[in-house]
Symmetry: C2
Subunit: 565 residues, 2 copies
Amino acid sequence: MSQRAFTIGLDYGTNSVRAVVVDTADGRVLGTHVFEYPSGDRGVLLDPAQPHLARQHPADYIDGLRVAVGEALNDAGRDPSFARDRVIGIGADTTGSTPLPVDARARPLALDPRWQHNLAAQAWLWKDHTAAGEAVAITEAARAHAPELLSPIGGTYSSEWWWSKIWRCLKVAPDVFDAAASWVELADFIPALLSGVTDSRAIVRCVCAAGHKAMYSKAWGGLPPKAFLARLDPKLAGLRDRLYDEAHPPGRPAGTLSEAWAQTFGLRAGIPIAMGAFDAHYGAVGSGIRAGTLVKIIGTSTCDCAIAPAAVSMADVPGICGIVNGSILPDFYGIEAGQSAVGDLLNWWVEGVCKGGEALHAELSDAAAPLLPGESGLIALDWNNGNRTILVDARLTGLLLGQTLHTTRAEIYRALIEATAFGARAIVERLREYGVSIERVVCCGGIAEKNSLFMQIYADVIGQPMLIAGSPQTPALGSAVSAAVTAGAAAGGYNAWTDAQGRMTSLKKRRFDPDPAASRTYDELYAVYRELHDAFGGVAGARPDLASVMKRLLAIKERAGHADA
Amino acid sequence: MSQRAFTIGLDYGTNSVRAVVVDTADGRVLGTHVFEYPSGDRGVLLDPAQPHLARQHPADYIDGLRVAVGEALNDAGRDPSFARDRVIGIGADTTGSTPLPVDARARPLALDPRWQHNLAAQAWLWKDHTAAGEAVAITEAARAHAPELLSPIGGTYSSEWWWSKIWRCLKVAPDVFDAAASWVELADFIPALLSGVTDSRAIVRCVCAAGHKAMYSKAWGGLPPKAFLARLDPKLAGLRDRLYDEAHPPGRPAGTLSEAWAQTFGLRAGIPIAMGAFDAHYGAVGSGIRAGTLVKIIGTSTCDCAIAPAAVSMADVPGICGIVNGSILPDFYGIEAGQSAVGDLLNWWVEGVCKGGEALHAELSDAAAPLLPGESGLIALDWNNGNRTILVDARLTGLLLGQTLHTTRAEIYRALIEATAFGARAIVERLREYGVSIERVVCCGGIAEKNSLFMQIYADVIGQPMLIAGSPQTPALGSAVSAAVTAGAAAGGYNAWTDAQGRMTSLKKRRFDPDPAASRTYDELYAVYRELHDAFGGVAGARPDLASVMKRLLAIKERAGHADA
């Protein structure tokens, strides 16, 4: 029992920050606390005049750190096996890309009274879409002059990402831009904060944010060349000198716990602080990601993470959002894909159209569950919010086909779930096609835990068992795993990620295995989905047989024994 | 005032029969009465074991005749200008194809206690779909051996029609088939009843029912040749001998009022009884149909009627349900087209999916009215109940495209109205393409009278003013017009249909004129509709540019100034 060691994992979400205190021997959570951000609308600063704006006040992050960790430790303290001096490390994940401007002493500009009410000086939250024009211009410039910059990030630069937002700030608030000594991703800011960094040049940067959002790659010496940035604006080229030359994978420390924070928390000063990472990536770690595992984080949208050995030279996988060496685990390519509307698609139907709430979700699930695959005669495309992977096209929209005068809202609900499952299958097939092995699918997120109908459809459509991560808080757990690995490595021992994951992460007992008969029907329906997907998605060489689509669906429906034609 | 003359119009609908007493000088309705059929479910006999079955008890027709005419006359009697001896004729329209078996004395078999509870001995209501298999077999036999039979009826024989139903009866209730001396359309039964016909061979048959539903044409000497019927079943060939050799257009009497009925009603015996016709056709007459006029009867489904001079040899118009010489007015081709779900499509959305009623219809109309064409980004195909015209394919289903996460139920409601308007435009274009002049569109039915949004969209989409029939009861009025013409002709005078229509029918003052800007946008949207229509409808040579469909709709949406992308 004297060997017990604990780590702290922090998960900075959109509305709150969560801290967990975890036993590194078995992943048991001894203490936890959630701090809701006090500012704005549930932590998000909005501007009625700019509907695409979403910012956060950095003070919320700092207050949240103090309260969440403090209370999680108090919570753990109720367990007699816990002792604060056995906490060996801290890790943190955050949303991203969420950059914020800092001064030369690495302090957020927004903490300076001069800037505290200026929206441009806050953290630019991942879902801020004010920089749509800048994203288009960056994509065009890169396509014309430096196409290699786009190849690891899916071919299109997003309005949600680092350079779009910083350039936008330069345009609309040049005073803020000029006042910023540097910019930092929230995922790097938290470790720097914990480490007491007081020089913006000393902030350690993670390759996860750098590679997926800031066009960083060792292939071209780090961030995009100054010549390229100067094409956008000479001041961006100037900023590059004040940013960083190197970004790092997890496993090494981003710093060590400062005296001040150690005192605040009653922890030992100098314990290692893990590299920061995005929530999806540490969520994948907390779900037990390894070579051959696809982790699906299923929420309003879905983020898919996989890894592939970096020793193997990987061709670009067309339509995949990001492939970055070391972004999830060191020495592996971190591969990120995603679907832009999953839970949101169901919410649109239930809340937006049918005007219901949680109870109606449950009612429609219950009504849809006994339906056989194909029995409704419906098929849908899951593009109400565009298609992130594998078409990388935001200018696509939804489609529903096969309605009769008897089609019910529950049938449509099920067809929308199926559409997202077909979209998920398209991602799996694309990865496999390019040599990424997928032998295991582990799901996490609220839908994975709560909606059995959803999970069974996914198993049947993808033709693979759906496993469910054991922890309901995989990102915070993954941060704690990273802290454990980092601390172990520093001590010369506990350095194997798979070993740490093996001890600290788990799967739920409940799993969803594909039903062979359902899978066979879904194979047919997926073929129809792909015909529509490729035709409306503009895939070169698509040769759909549209004249037979409705008739094929009717034939499948009738075979299901419930034709009402 | 001594010249006043009145006629009675009867309209046998699905749930009730209506009688009107009309002044032939100006179409004024002096008396009216509606008799709700007492049997079954609002007049329809159902069988839980056979969901496609829909029958009616002939006693309801006879009771309805007595009560509706009797009460309408009593109602008219309150007008001092009315006198029963100035009633000069009676006309009737009915649903169809609604055949019923009769004995040798022209009495419905169902009135015989032996058959009164046998569903096969009742009238087979137009919407009875038990004979789907027979319809397919008839279509196949005709395509293989007598394709000319199908050319006036759109190329496909329907389960709703005469021969399908009679053949079905022969198969499932051969005792009823054997007991029937003849079969008669309800549209011919009512005039025969009023005329006191007591010999099934003496029943006068209208070309409207014969030509549109029973494959009757002078081109092949009347009903289908015995050799053809014998291919289906030798007993059908035998029945042909007991049916009829000739069918007649309206304008000549089907008979004269019997002594018995004259006594019942207090009318003069011997006044002419007009030829029967289907409700849509006399509805077109009551809406003022003439060459160059398209009458749209808009209800749960839509029936379109037009006429073209029979002197002009008319090629078949592909995809048009029926082209029958004399079926609407003598010496003109009666042309019938239709859309299988219009009001039903909106009812499906409002009642079936959104779980609302009349109030929600109104709410969604109000919310959809201010939207600009294309502003929702949506486009739909109106095929939830298949496509009657111009594709003649029941095995087509609905489609909705362009949804985002912000799409509202009101936007979808409007898109469904627009879809039916596009379907209506496809019919108008097809008719014009084959030389049928359409200079005027007159609408009738509940939607035409009540839903301004619907009518304005139709005007904008079709690019033609939408006029509205003055009478809310155009079929009954048309029956009265036919009676007036028939009575006038018998008297040697009042024989011009246009003259009678000019006096007795009217248009509402309110009309809907196309808005040029809206029409321009709808031209673009119609082009998209036709691409989808032709692609999914299997039109030969369709070359849709599907990859650009969603983007074109987004561009139109953004032009409308309300992009939320």
